[in-house]
């Protein structure tokens, strides 16, 4: 389906396009600060037409946050899968997490700011995925400490710290900056290992 934009140009309006516009606006103004009429205006359609492609603002938020949380968990699984060395697993887990926060900044900002606006049961599903991810990283650190490879005094604080450090990449990274997303992710995975107590990761 297409809709006329204010300039008369016709763009395809699909559920994916609606979600993309909502992602941009939620990231910029927050979930509470965004009206559906603004999502419609962004797409160059009238608000009633928007309802052909979505059910509610809440459902848009739920889809964005749940998909993102599921992807984070899947990426963690892929990062540690088949790696025997615990330091390699932690490094790769931190690298993909930092990389995601450089490449999916809008989603990251929404997940970190607007989760409290989610309704059940999605809120619990998201919190559960997040908890699983944090516990899994914490378990890697504990394993590294048990093997004498890492020196973190408290694996829980270290996992909170290194994960949140990666999250923060979304707040300052710019694709036009001096460093690529890959470069930043590499550096942050080194920082993450240092936080976990690997004194010299190189």
């Amino acid at each position: 389906m297409t809709a006329p934009t204010p300039t008369g140009e016709r763009v395809a309006v699909t559920p994916a396009a609606v979600r993309d516009a909502a992602t941009t606006l939620f990231a910029e103004k927050g979930y509470h600060g965004t009206a559906l009429s603004e999502v419609a205006a962004h797409l160059g359609i009238r608000t009633p037409s928007l309802y052909n492609h979505m059910r509610s603002k809440q459902e848009l938020l739920a889809e964005i946050v749940l998909d993102t949380s599921q992807q984070v968990w899947a990426e963690f699984g892929a990062a540690v899968d088949g790696r025997a060395d615990v330091v390699d697993r932690l490094r790769e887990a931190a690298r993909v997490y930092a990389l995601r926060h450089a490449t999916h900044r809008r989603e990251a900002l929404i997940v970190n700011r607007d989760v409290a606006s989610l309704a059940e049961p999605v809120l619990s599903q998201v919190l559960d995925l997040r908890r699983r991810h944090e516990r899994a990283v914490r378990a890697l650190i504990a394993e590294g400490v048990a093997q004498g490879r890492l020196a973190a005094e408290d694996p829980r604080t270290a996992s909170f710290g290194l994960l949140e450090m990666c999250v923060s990449v979304a707040r300052w990274f710019s694709p036009d900056g001096a460093l690529s997303a890959q470069d930043v992710a590499e550096q942050y995975s080194d920082f993450a290992l240092r936080v976990a107590g690997l004194r010299d990761p190189d």
Binding site: N112, E153, G161, R194
Partner: protein
């Protein structure tokens, strides 16, 4: 009828606004809700405040100026870079454990600031970031730190400390001081302090 409500002062209004902004965001908070929290009618509230934007501006100004004042209070220019970094990150981490409302508002709602407040806030933030980066650069030059990208390390360390406000609770296992100690050690490790 006797009133039992607390005396309304600009500070009381600011405190109520801070709590609501932190919980619901600046956009998600109406001035009428601040009035409800304080048990007054909205028109009465305006005797004690300017606009909602002015409340946000006061919160952000006070917080970012406080961060800079903290830094200069604990960092002695004559100290070794490792001691400077430890003290600077310890106080910054501690602030984010003990002043969580301010931290959440400053890190989420500053895009709602209008000029010139927005520019002033950015300048103070930049000043803090540059001061921290200068400590790291001195440490690298002195051979005390071993890190390839001082700018990235200073971003990482600052954001690491900021994140404490997102998970710390007063009734958790760790005190604010214990968390601040751990985080200052994280900072030293990130720069490869020897």
């Amino acid at each position: 009828m006797r009133s039992v409500r607390a005396t309304l002062t600009p500070d009381v209004v600011l405190d109520a606004a801070l709590t609501l902004f932190a919980a619901r965001g600046y956009h998600g908070t109406a001035v009428s809700e601040i009035a409800t929290t304080l048990g007054v009618r909205t028109p009465s509230l305006y005797n004690h405040m300017g606009s909602k934007h002015e409340l946000l501006r006061t919160i952000v100004d006070g917080t970012t100026a406080g961060v800079l004042a903290d830094f200069h209070a604990v960092v002695d220019p004559a100290d070794r870079p490792a001691d400077q970094l430890r003290r600077a990150t310890r106080t910054y981490a501690c602030r984010h454990a003990t002043r969580r409302r301010e931290a959440l508002v400053v890190n989420r709602d500053t895009t709602s600031l209008e000029e010139p407040a927005f520019g002033e806030m950015q300048a103070r933030r930049r000043e803090h970031e540059h001061a921290l980066r200068a400590v790291i650069t001195r440490g690298v030059a002195a051979g005390e730190f071993r890190v390839g990208a001082p700018a990235l390390a200073s971003f990482a360390i600052r954001e690491l400390c900021v994140s404490i406000a997102r998970w710390f609770t007063d009734d958790g296992e760790l005190s604010a001081d214990a968390v601040a100690d751990q985080y200052s050690r994280f900072a030293l490790r990130i720069v490869g302090s020897t």
